[in-house]
Structures are given as C-alpha cells and as structure tokens.
Symmetry: C2
Subunit: 477 residues, 2 copies
C-alpha cells in the first residue's frame, strides 16, 4: 500500500475545501450567516440563468453553508441552484440540508440518482434522506442500490423512527481486548476498508459483545506492547438499539460521551452513535418544547405551508373548545354583568394573569421533566415549591390590583373581590401548571404536547368563575 | 518511563468505576434516573446519620448519578450527604452538580478546601465552580491556590460570562506541522504532562497560530514517516476567545465539530473547546427559549425560591400593565356591554384565540432566529408566509365560530361581527408574532425575552377592540 493510496483515504473533499478563505469570509456575516448581499448575488445569477456565475459564487462555501443557501433562496430557485452546482452537491451538502428542503429536492430526482447519493452517505445520513420519502419512492430507490448498502438501510428503516437504530452508523472499529496497542495501530494502518473518522475503538469478546472502550488518545499515549485490556475503560454506556433518541441524547450529555456502542437485544455490538449526530437531536428535542407547548407543530419555517396551517389549526380548534367552556362560565353571570358592566372590564385581568402564571410554571416543569430533573422522588417537594411561589405571587399581585381597583373606582368591596380572585387564580395556575404535566408524564403522554390546553382551561374558567362568583356572592352585582 | 507510570496517566477514577454493575442497575430505572426506592434508602440512612450505609449505597454510582442524587435529596440533607461520602466527592461529581446545588455546597466549605478542589478540576470546570461565588469568596479561594492554576482561572474569569474564554480548556496538544506521524506518536508517549483525553491535535506555526487540525484517527491510520502537513485538515473553524457561547454552539453544530481551537485577538492558539462542554450549552440555550418566552427566568427547579419569585413576579407585573391596557379598551365599551351583556361573554374567545395564534407564530420565529434559519435574506418571505397562514386560520376559525354564534343565538349580525373580529385578530397575531421578534433581533435585543409581552398586548387589545368596536359600529349594541 503506497502513501498516495493512504492519502486517498483521508477526507479528500475536506482537504479540497482548503479554499479561498478570504472569499468565504466575504460571504458570511459576523454571526456566521450568509450575508444578504451574497444571497442576492446568487439569486440574480439564478434569475439570469448564469450557471457559471452561480458556480463561482457558491464554490468557495463550506458544505454546511451551501445547505443554508438552499434554505435562503426561494423554493422555485432551488432546482436551478442544484443544477448549476451539480458537482458541489456532495454528500455533506445533502446531509446538512433541512429535512423539508431535501425532501423536495430529492423527490424531484430520478430514483437511480437518489440511490447513487444514498450509497455515498453514511448509513445514518442515508436513512435520514430516505425515511421521509413515501413508501413507493423509497422502494424504487432501494431497488436501485447495491445489495450491501441496501441491506444496511433496510435494516435501519426496520427500527422505529427516532430510535438509536436509525441514528447509528454501521461503520466502527471493533477489536479483541487481547490485541496490543502496537498491533492495533498496525491493524488500523493496514485495513483500508475501515472508517477514516472515529474517536474510540471498541473492544469485543468472542461473541462480539462490547467489553471496553479505548479513546484514541489513550492508545496514542501507550507503548506498543501494552494489551488493550489494560488501556480500555470497562465502565461503558451501551445503547440498546431500540432506545428513543431523546434518551440517547440525555445519556451522551449526562456521561459526556463522544461515541457509544449500540447493541442488539442479545448484547452484540451492531453500530456506534457519535456525538455529532446527537448534537442535532439535543438541539431539536430541547427546542421542540417551545413549539409543542404553543401547538406550532413541527415549527420548521421550511415546512410546506399547508401542513403548517393544518397543524396550527388543529391546535387552535382544541383551544377554541376550551375558550367556549371559559366563555360559558361568563355566560352564567350575564345578569350580573348587565347590572354592573365594570365586571366585564376587569375580568380579563384575572384570567389573563392566571394564564401567564400558569405558563411560567408549565415551562419550568416541562423542562425539568424533559431533562430528568423532576422525577417521582422530588415531585412532592416541587408541588410544594410551586404552591409557595403561587401564594407569594398571587398575594403580591392581589394586593397591587386590589388596592388600585379599590382606589380608582372608589369601591373597596370591588378591590377585595378582585384581590381574592387573583390569589385564588394564581394558586389554580401554579397547581395546574405542575399537576397537569406531572400527571400526563405518569401516563406516558408527552407533557409538552397537551399540558397547555388543560392549564389554560383551568386558569380561564377559574379566573372568570372566582371573580364573577365572588362579585355575586358579596352582593356587588 | 515505566509502563506502570504510563498506566497511572490513564483515567484512574474511571477505571475504578469498573464497579458492581448489578448494583448500579438496581439504583436506576429504565429511563436511567435514580429510582425513588433507592433515594428513599439514602434519605433514611441520612436521617439515621448512618454514614457507612450512605457510603455503601452511593459508592457504586457513576459520578453523574451522585450529582443527580444531590438534587433529589432535600436541601438540608445535602451537607450530611457530602460529609458521608467525602472521598467519593471527586472532581467529576463537582463538575456535574447543578449550578445552584454546587453554589450552596461550595459556599459552606472553607476557602482552602474549595481551592484544593478547583486545582484538580479542568480550567473550564473550575471557572464554572468559582464564577458564581461572590467576589470576596472568590478572592479568598484564589488566594489559596497555586500560582499557575490561579493565573489560568483569573485569566478565564477576565473574559465575559458565557464567552468562549470561560468555556475553553487550556489543556491541549499543539505541535509543528512539520512533525511526522511517528515523531508525534513518540512525543505523545514521552510527555507525561500532556492531557490524557483529547480528540484532535492542533498544528501551529512558529507564531503559535493554528494552521491545521488532525483527527487522531487519521494519525493512527498513517505510516510513521508522513509529515503532519499531509495529514491535517487546513480548513478549520477557529473560535475567537470573546465569542458568545451560543455562537460557539451553533458552529459546533453546523460544522459537526468534536473540538475547536480558541484563538486570541492576535490569532495565537490559547485553548480548545471540546464538544462535551458544548453539548450542555446547546441544551441550555435551546431549552432557554421556552423559559424566556414565559418569563420564568432561570427556570431551574433548584434555584432559591426567593429568586424565582422575584423573577416571575417582575414578569407578571409587566404583564399586569399590558392586561390593564387591554382592560381599558373594554372600558371604552362599558355602555355597549351593559346594553348587551352577551358581548362580554364572547369577547374572551376573540382575544384568547388571537393570543394562541400569536404564541404559535412567536414560538416558530424565535426558534428560527435562534438557530440562524431566519436572517435578513428571508425575512420578507417569512412575513408573507405568516400572513398567509394567519389569513387561512383566521378565516377557518371565523367561519366556524361565526356560524356557531349566529345559529346558537339566532343573531346573524352577531355571527358576522365575531367572524370578522376573528379574522382581524388572527392577522394581528400572525404579523405581531413575526414583526416583534424580528424587530427586536435587529436592535440586538434577545427576542425570546421580551417578544411575548408585545404580542399579547397586541392580540388582547385588538381582540377586544375589533369585536366590541364592530359591535357598536354595526349597531348591534
């Protein structure tokens, strides 16, 4: 094996990307986003169908920036862009593309071209590209692939969506623990078919069960004659192939992992997950809660607009139902409102403040559940904590708004009523804000998805009911 | 240098953690959280002041789980726990502790003990431990430290909070690019003072400017006589020491980095950031938006309750002001409400649905801004997108609620009024939901922090105003 051969093993495209750094800097702003002027030049060149100019502009970009560029140009410009820079559309660009943008681009390509691209991608990236295609397209693409790659992708697709099986790569280095450091280095130098980029070497026994992990830096720092069982860390975090990706992400974070072995139900090593794949998951899962809590669905700005409308409208209809419930509570007090219309003026304050307080508690609790900070062990303490916070905030707000109302309208009773309602509704908000998500989680329902409806219903109805009810009860109206 | 010496270089405590796996499994549930029964046993042993039993229970745990245990026991049990397991309180436990829990524990320790702990930690972890102490305590601890470590920490503390300078570690491997693979391996084997865990080697020129990066797997796969300049990747992502940690996290994610060189303003290599430190940042920053949007402040369930009350109350008071503005809009229509109390029953539906729609748009836009997906280049397209979504949803909801109201109350005009108000308020919600955060971001204000107040004010006031105003205008009341 010649040195030239070996150099070929090294990431060629990255070495080639050793590009005109000055030009790249010109296209990015200080926050590392593509500059509007740059994108405008590309769009102009696209409009003029000047493929050469498009190519010259895009060529110096990093693959991740090319992927960003696809998001930034209009939907109808994306195919022209792809055609103009055909030979820059490497696997790294495809892997970095936003899911929706990629889906549209991929759907427009013939099956054999997609198959060619998929064969060059790592299994996990190929799976990400193919999993969103509809079944017929998927089958057509798989039919065009080489049997080996096809088998790898089919077996990955057999695992549930968002599981470790979809996330893992089948390319990894596994050796017997009895190998010495020197033998391992020779083995790595001699076997061209091994992956070029890996961070840890897994030691396995005769049954291919992982028994230890060696960080490459430990290997590099040990003399050649040391056996791997003296180098490796035996205490490993093994990922069962069916584990949910959110759980995988939490383990990577908790144990500060760079890579981890994935095992099948019989304990055999079948793949590895590396931290760069997990980073996306962490970002997605952590950011998802905001979107789920608001009912914004996928929440990706590249999602086809009809899907977005459908997702948001579904949620708004559910909320409409709860708004009608709250409104019917007000309906019970129509007579009182007709006699004393000021009640209608003040009631949104009580319900609105309760809604805000409930949302605060909910945000904190949903986050704590998602990060495994809130467990059965400390639930009771946290309920008490939220109760005390709600009591403190409710009292403070009640005194403030009660005094203000009493003075402004020269009506002490009205002040007392709104103050009391405020305390009651803050307690409702605080308790609903923690009890709803904790209960949903106990029934294995994602609290981020459906908590908000229940909490808002509670704070709206109780806000109106406590305020208007007290007004009637005290003879105010 | 003997082999025994070399083995000492390897992560000792991790090798020792090669512990009773069976026992560890017993203490964790299927989601890898400490089981309530286990925590209860520890709490019982703590109550009985049975230090030996506490020690036996905790000893098999991974440091990250010991850190979790501190969060799960009550505040007043934490010091007893720390005393009972003194020699298990290694640097890894300290580094993994929740910031608030650590602060309380650390504050209770004498300065020289804290200094001892800080000296054993990596610079970035030591900084995390010391940065939250008040200045007098910080100075006392620094005074007890060895000059070298002290200097490293002081220089880190000189960088702004949440900057790359605070996040970076000063331990890394940097060599000239002219070194060969073989010389590098010998160098790594011979120099004991080098860090034991690193993922990439940085090549530097005579001025200590980074010129390339070698992944360790490339080094292991190349023959000894190849010079590093033929192995290294020249296209690097350099992190300026003053860069905000959120920006650092975005680059790690965008370019799938494992580690990155940190450079001072003159371009000299002064530290490295590794992905395991960034994973925490990504998680925090992505999760933060939910908390910021709801005004829940830090949102950590371990935050001292008074700080939590203050943070949430501040936000609630701001919202009280906006609720009063909205309520005063209703006040303008008191006469109409007194004549036709049904208006008061229906008006919360219009404002509430607008609020929900606004929150949806806001969640999506804030996320897109945070992940650099929404930039100046596509702002206009996204405004049009939100406008179209709002028009579609507003029309659908308007028709639904308008028809229902018209039929239920046998009043077609009332139905038409609420339908129109619904469309108007959805448009207000959609446009405010994108224009407010985009404008704030342009003025370098974090849109997650203050957008919600403006958007809610817009949807509440316009909800009431459009509905009640139309009712009066059409002679309904």
């Amino acid at each position: 094996m010649s040195e030239a051969d070996l150099k070929e093993d090294l990431p060629e495209d990255e070495a080639a990307a050793e590009n005109d750094a000055a030009l790249e800097t010109e296209s990015l702003d200080e926050e590392n986003r593509l500059k509007p002027e740059f994108v405008r030049s590309v769009k102009e060149a696209l409009a003029e169908e000047d493929s050469d100019r498009v190519y010259d502009l895009v060529e110096p970009l990093h693959p991740a920036d090319i992927a960003d560029l696809f998001e930034l140009v209009d939907e109808n410009e994306r195919h022209t862009l792809a055609r103009s820079i055909r030979d820059l559309m490497g696997v790294e660009v495809i892997a970095e593309l936003n899911d929706w943008v990629r889906e549209l681009l991929v759907e427009a390509l013939p099956a054999d071209v997609v198959a060619d691209i998929a064969e060059q991608l790592d299994t996990d990236d190929a799976v990400a590209m193919l999993e969103d295609l509809d079944e017929a397209d998927q089958r057509a693409v798989l039919a065009e692939m080489e049997p080996e790659e096809r088998a790898a992708i089919e077996s990955a697709l057999a695992y549930p969506e968002e599981s470790a099986g979809r996330l893992m790569s089948r390319e990894f280095v596994a050796v017997p623990e009895t190998m010495t450091v020197g033998d391992l280095i020779d083995f790595l130098r001699e076997h061209r078919e091994l992956p070029t980029e890996f961070w840890e070497v897994f030691c396995v026994d005769a049954l291919h069960h992982p028994v230890g992990t060696c960080a490459l830096s430990w290997i590099l720092r040990c003399p050649r004659n040391i056996p791997l069982y003296d180098v490796m860390k035996r205490d490993q975090t093994l990922i069962p192939v069916g584990m949910d990706q959110e759980e995988v992400a939490l383990r990577f974070q908790k144990y500060a992992l760079i890579s981890a072995a994935v095992v099948d139900p019989s304990g055999r090593l079948i793949g590895q997950i590396t931290v760069d794949d997990v980073v996306h998951v962490i970002q997605e899962e952590a950011g998802e809660d905001t979107l789920l809590l608001s009912g914004a669905g996928d929440g990706d700005i590249n999602e086809p607009i009809l899907l977005t409308v459908r997702a948001r409208l579904t949620w708004l209809c559910v909320n409409l139902a709860t708004a009608i419930i709250a409104s019917s509570v007000v309906g019970l007090f129509q007579g009182a409102i007709a006699r004393f219309a000021l009640l209608a003026v003040l009631m949104p304050i009580v319900s609105g403040m309760g809604g805000n307080a409930g949302t605060q508690t909910l945000a904190v609790v949903v986050r704590a559940i998602a990060t495994n900070q809130l467990t059965d062990t400390n639930t009771w303490r946290m309920i008490m904590r939220e109760f005390r916070i709600a009591l403190a905030n409710g009292t403070a707000l009640g005194v403030l708004i009660g005094t203000g109302t009493g003075l402004l309208f020269g009506n002490a009773l009205l002040g007392a009523v709104i103050a009391t309602a405020m305390v009651v509704n803050n307690l409702v908000a605080g308790l609903a804000g923690i009890l709803v998500p904790v209960t949903l989680a106990r029934f294995k329902v994602d609290p981020a998805v459906s908590s908000a409806v229940f909490v808002t219903t509670a704070t709206d109805t109780m806000g109106f009911f406590s305020f208007l009810g007290l007004a009637v009860l005290t003879g105010l109206a």
